[in-house]
Symmetry: C2
Subunit: 148 residues, 2 copies
Amino acid sequence: MKKTILALVVVAFFNQPAGAADPKQMDENKRVVLDFYEKGLNKKDFAAAAVHLGPRYTQHNPNAADGPEGFRNFLAFLREKFPNSRSEIKRVFADGDYVILHVHAVRSPGERGVAIVDIFKLENGKIVEHWDVAQPVPEKAANANGMF
Amino acid sequence: MKKTILALVVVAFFNQPAGAADPKQMDENKRVVLDFYEKGLNKKDFAAAAVHLGPRYTQHNPNAADGPEGFRNFLAFLREKFPNSRSEIKRVFADGDYVILHVHAVRSPGERGVAIVDIFKLENGKIVEHWDVAQPVPEKAANANGMF
C-alpha cells in the first residue's frame, strides 16, 4: 500500500502539463525572476519589480501579508531599516512553471547573513506565487564547506 | 559596469553543459533523490539510502559533518531520538545536475514541524553534494496561505 502511494506521488510529480516544460519559457521565467529580485530586493524599487507580478501574488512567507502590498511593505521596511542590504543569488533553477533561487542575503555589510531558498511560480511569464525558507548562517559549522 | 556583471552572471547561469539538461537524466535524478530521501530520512536506513551516493558527498548543512559519515550519524540520531519523524515531500524540481526538494519535516507527530528546501547535485546519477535551508513553521503567520 505504501509503495502504491509512493508510486502515485512519483507519477504526480512527473505528470506536469507538457507546456510547462518548454525550455524557452523556463529560460524566460529565470530572467523574469532574476530581474524581479534585483529590482525588488537589491534596488528596493517596488514599481520596477512589480511589472513582473501577475494578477495575483500568493504569499507563503509567514512574515509577509498576502498580495503585492505585503511585498511593497517589505521593501519599504528594507529601504528604511537596511538600505545597504544585499541579496546575492548563488544558484537559479527552473522546472516547469517554477523558478528556484538559492540566495545569500546580508542586511548590513559584514554580517554573516542568511541562507534563503525562494520558490516562485509563474503563469504566462508573470510571478503569481512565492514560498521561501530562511536560515541564519551560523558562526561555526560541523564542516568546512560553507552553506553555499 | 553593474549591468555588464549582471549580464555575465545571467549568461553563466544559462550556460550549462548541454548534457546536463537531458530530460531523461533529470527525471532519473528526481527518482534517485526521492528514493534516497525515503530510504534515508523516513526509513532511517543508511545502507539503503547510501547506494545513491557517489564517490564523494560534500555536505553544506552546517550541523552535519562532511561525507557519508555525517549523514549516517544524522540518521542514527533520528532513529534514536525521533523514531517517528516524517519528511513529507511537497515539491520536487530538477534542473541540469540538480534536484531540489521542498519538504515538511515533523520530528514528533502533531508538531508544526520545519519547512526545508534541500538541493542535491548529482553526477552520473549519483548524489555528490547537498545544501539545505530549514525554518520552523511558526504558530502564527501574516497570511493564511501556510508555508507550503
